[in-house]
Structures are given as structure tokens and as C-alpha cells.
């Protein structure tokens, strides 16, 4: 079904998506929020720029955006796929517990905060460009990958792969950064290492999938140094308290 979003508010758009069959094409998105919130079993393509909280609580639907998306992409997402061809705003993938978010360009601040995982449910977020500060704060599970590829739409590609304070309070999951991470300050409770062996195999799988979405060359991307960050304790606050 084709949905012309130009004259519609978010409530109407979501009603139309629910009414439509499996396939759904939205054109003329103009910052409407909450598109596809909580939805499952739909394949949605979006032309134009969707607003905040795109695919919040997403439960298995697949969303593809050609242009940019705004803040809170995939908030508390449970399952499904969100692909963004441009850049995304702040707080993407907050508390995400499953599914995948693939972004071709850059991510704003606070991406992947409190991502978590349980058994076979492992969320994956791959950012093609660079990520802002506070990446993966309180990360409790899942996989965050930042590739640092040249972003055509950015004015300046010389900055670091990630901003300030990545991984603060991280206590689970993994982060891969396609960089030697020189000059990036990590907190004390994480291990920062050169990715090799099993880590690289895992990465290969995800990058392969990512490259397929955007028609990129996986071998070229993988032919670089990756840093892997993991927490060194699942209980970062254990020693802080005394019973009173």
C-alpha cells in the first residue's frame, strides 16, 4: 500500500500502516513521529524524513529509510530491522533488546544506551560513519559497531570515530570500533583490545549483512584495524555499598 504522508499526522500514518497489507510504502514523510511503533510483520519503506522515535518498541517489522532519520530511532526495540540510508539523531537504540539497526551515515549523541541481550536475542547496531558522545553508556548486552567510513553528507570527516565518554557504566555486550582508538578515553571498568580471532568472525557476519543492505564491499571494510571493547565485570557497582 502506498501512503502519502504529506498531509497526515503520525496517528493517521500508523492507522494506515496497520490497515495495510504486509508491504507498505510511505512517501513524503515530514518528521512525523512514532512511525511503526510496536509493529510486527510489516515491511515498510519510507521516502522523506521520519520524525523522532521511528520504530519505537518495534516488534519484528522491517523499516527502510532512504534519507535521514531523527532522534530515538528504535527506542526499546524488541525485534526487526531498521535501515537508514542517511544520518540519525540522538539516543538511537535506547534499551534495544533485539533486532538490528543499520545506519549508513553518522549517529548523534547517546546511541545504544542500555542495550541489552538475553540468550539468543542479541541486538545489533551498526553505524557506518561516526558516533557522538556517550556511545553505549550502561551497555548491558548486544553489539554496537562503528565503522568510521567517509560520510558523503558530512562537512568534515576528520573527527574521531566516537565522541567523548563512550562505554561509561558498560556491564555487558560488546562494542567494535573500526579504528585503533588512539586518543579515545575509555572508562576504567572496560577492556579495550585489538579485535582478532573469534571476534573478527562474528564481526564478519554482521558486516556482511550490513554491506548487502547498502551495496558496500565487506572485504574492504574488514581490511582495517578494529578495536573491541568489553566490560571487565558484570557487577560494576559491587564494591560500592555497605549494608546499613
Amino acid at each position: 500500500m502506498l501512503i502519502d504522508a504529506k498531509e497526515l499526522g503520525y496517528k493517521e500514518i500508523n492507522e494506515k500502516i496497520r490497515e495495510s497489507g504486509k508491504e507498505c510504502e510511505i512517501v513524503g514523510a515530514l518528521g512525523q513521529r512514532f512511525i511503526a511503533a510496536g509493529m510486527s510483520g510489516k515491511t515498510i519503506s519510507i521516502d522523506g524524513v521520519p520524525g523522532n522515535a521511528l520504530g519505537a518498541y518495534l516488534n519484528g517489522a522491517s523499516i527502510k529509510v532512504k534519507a535521514n532519520a531523527q532522534d530515538a530511532v528504535g527506542d526499546t526495540m524488541n525485534d526487526g530491522l531498521i535501515v537508514v540510508g542517511g544520518n540519525i539523531g540522538d539516543a538511537a537504540g535506547y534499551a534495544m533488546r533485539g533486532g538490528k539497526i543499520f545506519v549508513k551515515g553518522d549517529a548523534g549523541y547517546r546511541a545504544g544506551i542500555h542495550m541489552k541481550a538475553y540468550k539468543e536475542k542479541i541486538p545489533v547496531m551498526i553505524i557506518g560513519g561516526r558516533a557522538g558522545s556517550f556511545l553505549g553508556e550502561y551497555q548491558a548486552g548486544g553489539i554496537i559497531v562503528v565503522l568510521g567510513l567517509k560520510n558523503e553528507s558530512a562537512h568534515d570527516n576528520s573527527g574521531k570515530i566516537v565522541g567523548y565518554f563512550p562505554c561509561t557504566g558498560m556491564h555487558g555486550g560488546k562494542m567494535y570500533l573500526r579504528s585503533d582508538c588512539e586518543g579515545i578515553k575509555f572508562p576504567g571498568q572496560v577492556n579495550v583490545a585489538h579485535a582478532k580471532g573469534k571476534d573478527l568472525d562474528e564481526l564478519k557476519e554482521y558486516i556482511g549483512e550490513y554491506c548487502e543492505e547498502f551495496g558496500l564491499n565487506a572485504d574492504e571494510i574488514l581490511d582495517a584495524d578494529f578495536t573491541v571493547v568489553t566490560p571487565d565485570s558484570k557487577n560494576p557497582y559491587k564494591q560500592m555499598y555497605v549494608a546499613n
Binding site: N59, R110, H114, E137, N244
Partner: protein, 501 residues
């Protein structure tokens, strides 16, 4: 003994003439205070581990036991009190933050106890609830400001989603993890039988309890544990937890040791991993952001569920509530500084936040002044201890009350305030299977139902005495209240007159 040695707070007194060395106390005490001395054939105790939970006392078949406060204390000092000194010893020894459980035990004023309720005499006759119908039912949610009619002149009856309660009390948020499976089962069953709601807290909803969905509030906190589409759709309402009265401004932290088995599954995090709820929701830095979360939840549940925003009572609560009332939330829950907790830093629990009585009065007044009181319902918690507290809260402007500590007491809690240890001898604040099974959900739910039914009778009786026959007519009716021993400022904030006026 070392400089750090602290003489045990309690003494275990065993009447040797009565003790038959049956060893019940030994089996009952998870703190391992009691043991049997084979050589001397007597029970002995290590009182240093005793938390005064009264479990052994309650189960000793010969009533041989009692626990008393030790009289071995430091020299009396009104400024440097015993507890203060002991806390310093603990911190000097560990370098750690003090962690406590349950509500603020300090002697701050309890305003409920300084407010008195009116009764009718002569002119406006009291109503006898045994003889006349009394309405205790309440509906929570946005109410329309004006009556709207369609083109044929018929009243438009569609209302925003409402919660229907048979009486103005609900069980407030306690997560599965901080309390046991059997405690949750008791609350869920009792709420269903009573026609009220209980609240999952931030630990998700155990799959066994989805059947109680129509009587469940599902909570969304900053850690978003166990939050997914099915969970959101399962409840009768969704509560966004912004804060908690016992620990305003800080997050939650369930230690990895309690994330075992089904708790891990329900929270959807690995066993042994700490469950950390960050202090803020990192996607909410403003009322605008809150509005975004409120509406994302409404969109995800197709506007079928009211959304509650729960905040702690803090200094600017009236302004904060005004913002929340404009955020699209249907209900505001305010938690006073005496609210309970499974674990909170002592200093925060005992020093941060304000009394719920003052917060409630200020918020209700502010929302009325701004003409937005009907935008939201108000639910208050933070040490509602009795039916008369409920009546006073409603007369001060609340639509309903949240209770938690009172509910746990009904389940057998003895307020030993060591929930953080995970060794609750009453099967409530623990995940140890041998302890959890001490709480029988059949009995637990029955006791909760009893408690609420008793309160319902008292509420009717108190209302009848005032000549009021429905909760609706009592709400915000501050003329029914008088203060005793309160100063002018307190009376002004509470919006009530002094007794005798």
C-alpha cells in the same frame, strides 16, 4: 575486639526453661543466628547476625524466644547518636556508601497524624453505610472539561481510556526480583479479586502473571527491563517511572546475585548481571521528551491504555506536575519521601524529597489554579498506612492511593529493613526458593483481600460520618479536614483550617 567492633544491635533472649531444643529457630533463620551445640545439648545464638525480623519468635512452639534491643550502647549524646556513630564506623571500615531498605525511619513530621476528619452533627445528617449505598468506586484517567454533543444533540460519551477501581487504593510498584514470585502472585490475585490494580515495578511481567493483565499496571523505567510489545499490551495501564520517593534523583540497582532463574528471564538480562536502571531516562531531558515517551507508548498500544507518570515528591513538585499534566499523561503518581524501597542509599532515603501530604496539597492546588486538574488523575503513595490516611489524601485532592509497605505487612513483613540482603525470612524480599515457599500465595492473597475489605468498610464509615456517600464528593473537599498543632505556613500549604476554626 577491634576499633571497628560494633556491639550487636539486638539480643536474643532464650528462656532455657521453655526451650526444648527443637531447632525450629535454627531452620527458620536464614541469617544463621541460631545453632545447636551438640556437646552441651543446648541452642546457642550469634546475635551479631540478627536483624530482628521476628521469624524465630513467631515460630518458636514454646514461646521461648524474644528479641530485645541491646542496652549495651555508647554514651548518650543527643547530637552524636548511636546510629550516627555506627554508620561512621561502617564507612571508615569499608569506604562504601551506606545502603538501607524500606522507608525513611527518621522522626520527620507525619502530617496525616496532624490532620483530623470532620463528622456531621445535627444539620447535615451522617449516613449509615450499613443502611444506605456508598460508592467507593473511582475511575482514573483524563476527564473531559465540558459536555460535548453531536449534531443531534446527543451527549458524546467517548472518554479517554480509564482505569476502574472498586476502591481508591492500588498496590504500588514492587518489581519481581526485589520481591519474590509468591509475593507477586499474592498481589496479582488479590488485586483481581478486589477489582483494583497491582503494579509490576520495573522488572517485567512473569509469564505466569499475564492472566492478571486487566488488573496489572506495567511499568516502564529507565532500564526498560522486560519491556516489549506484549508486555505493554498486557496491562490495564502503563506507568513511566521517573522517580521513587525513597530515592529521588537516583536510579535503581538490583545486584547480580538476585538476577537468577525466572527473574533473569522476566527482565530479559543474563543471570548474575547487575540490573542497572540509570538515574535519568537518557532520552528524557525535558517535558517535551517526556511527551514523546508518553505518546510513543500510546501509539504502540493504540491509545487503549492510560499512561501514568510516576515521580518522587521533591521541592518543585507542583511545577513538575503541571508539566506532566501537559505532557499527555493521563495519571500522575506522586511518591512521598517516606515511601519504601528494596534498597536505597541511606543518605538519600533519609534526606531527599518532601512529605507526600504537602506535595499532594501543592500539586492539587496548582493544577486547579491552572485549570488543568481534569487533564489528569492524581495517585499518591509514600506511606499510606490506614483507611484514614486514604480519606485524608482524597480530601486533600488525590483520586486514589498507592500502598506497598502496608501490603507487604499484610503478607508477613515485619519491617526489619534488611530487604537488600536478599535473605527475607518471610519469603518476600528474597529469591531463595526455600525462603520464597514460606509465603503461601493462597494465604497471602487472602490477607491482602481482608486488609482491603477492612479499609473499604472504614472508608465507608468515615465518609458516612461526614454525610458523604461517594468518593467523588470527597475528592478535594478540604473543608472536611482540620489541622492540629500545625503552623500557619503548613496550614496554608495544606489548604486547611486549624481545628476550632
Amino acid at each position: 575486639m577491634s576499633i571497628q567492633y560494633i556491639y550487636p544491635e539486638f539480643e536474643v533472649i532464650r528462656n532455657e526453661n521453655r526451650c526444648i531444643a527443637c531447632r525450629v529457630c535454627e531452620r527458620q533463620c536464614a541469617n544463621e543466628v541460631h545453632s545447636y551445640n551438640e556437646d552441651k545439648k543446648v541452642m546457642i545464638s550469634d546475635e551479631s547476625k540478627c536483624v530482628n525480623c521476628q521469624r524465630c519468635v513467631s515460630l518458636c512452639p514454646t514461646r521461648a524466644l524474644k528479641i530485645v534491643k541491646s542496652d549495651c550502647t555508647l554514651r548518650e549524646n543527643a547530637n552524636w547518636q548511636n546510629d550516627t556513630i555506627k554508620e561512621i564506623y561502617k564507612q571508615a571500615g569499608s569506604g562504601a556508601v551506606l545502603l538501607s531498605s524500606m522507608g525513611n525511619p527518621k522522626s520527620f513530621p507525619v502530617y496525616w497524624d496532624k490532620i483530623l476528619i470532620n463528622a456531621s452533627q445535627v444539620t447535615n445528617p451522617p449516613i449509615d453505610p450499613l443502611r444506605e449505598p456508598m460508592e467507593t468506586k473511582v475511575f482514573l484517567g483524563k476527564k473531559p472539561d465540558v459536555i460535548q454533543r453531536d449534531e443531534n444533540g446527543n451527549i458524546k460519551c467517548e472518554m479517554p481510556p480509564q482505569i476502574e477501581l472498586s476502591m481508591p487504593v492500588m498496590f504500588s510498584a514492587m518489581s519481581y526480583g526485589s520481591i519474590s514470585y509468591n509475593a507477586h502472585a499474592s498481589l496479582a490475585r488479590a488485586a483481581t479479586e478486589l477489582g483494583i490494580l497491582y503494579n509490576t515495578g520495573e522488572g517485567g511481567l512473569h509469564e505466569d502473571f499475564y492472566v492478571y493483565g486487566p488488573n496489572t499496571i506495567v511499568q516502564v523505567a529507565s532500564g526498560r527491563f522486560g519491556v516489549h510489545e506484549d508486555y505493554l499490551s498486557a496491562g490495564a495501564a502503563i506507568e513511566i517511572k521517573m522517580g521513587q520517593g525513597a530515592k529521588p534523583g537516583i536510579g535503581g540497582h538490583l545486584p547480580g546475585a538476585k538476577i537468577v532463574g525466572d527473574v533473569s528471564k522476566t527482565r530479559m538480562i543474563p543471570e548474575g548481571s547487575d540490573a542497572i536502571s540509570p538515574a535519568p531516562h537518557h532520552d528524557i531531558y525535558s517535558i517535551e521528551d517526556l511527551r514523546q515517551l508518553v505518546f510513543s507508548l500510546k501509539e504502540a498500544t493504540e491509545y487503549k491504555k492510560p499512561v501514568i507518570v510516576k515521580v518522587a515528591a521533591v521541592h518543585n513538585i507542583a511545577a513538575i506536575a503541571s508539566g506532566i499534566a501537559r505532557s499527555g499523561a493521563d495519571i500522575i503518581a506522586i511518591d512521598g519521601f517516606r515511601g519504601g524501597t528494596g534498597a536505597a542509599p541511606t543518605r538519600i532515603r533519609d534526606n531527599v524529597g518532601i512529605p507526600i501530604e504537602l506535595a499532594l496539597a501543592a500539586v492539587d492546588q496548582r493544577l486547579r489554579d491552572e485549570g488543568i486538574r481534569n487533564n489528569v488523575s492524581l495517585v499518591v503513595g509514600g506511606s499510606i498506612r490506614s483507611a484514614s490516611d486514604v480519606i485524608k489524601a482524597i480530601a486533600l485532592g488525590a483520586d486514589a492511593c498507592y500502598i506497598a509497605t502496608a501490603a507487604l505487612l499484610a503478607l508477613g513483613c515485619h519491617l526489619c529493613r534488611t530487604c537488600q540482603s536478599g535473605k527475607c525470612n518471610w519469603g518476600i524480599a528474597t529469591q531463595r526458593p526455600d525462603l520464597v515457599k514460606r509465603l503461601n500465595p493462597d494465604i497471602g492473597s487472602e490477607r491482602l483481600v481482608n486488609l482491603m475489605n477492612a479499609w473499604r468498610h472504614e472508608i465507608k464509615e468515615l465518609m458516612g460520618g461526614m454525610g458523604i456517600n461517594s468518593i467523588e464528593a470527597l475528592r478535594g473537599n478540604r473543608l472536611m479536614l482540620r489541622g492540629v498543632g500545625l503552623n500557619e505556613k503548613e496550614l496554608e500549604i495544606l489548604g486547611i483550617s486549624h481545628a476550632g476554626e
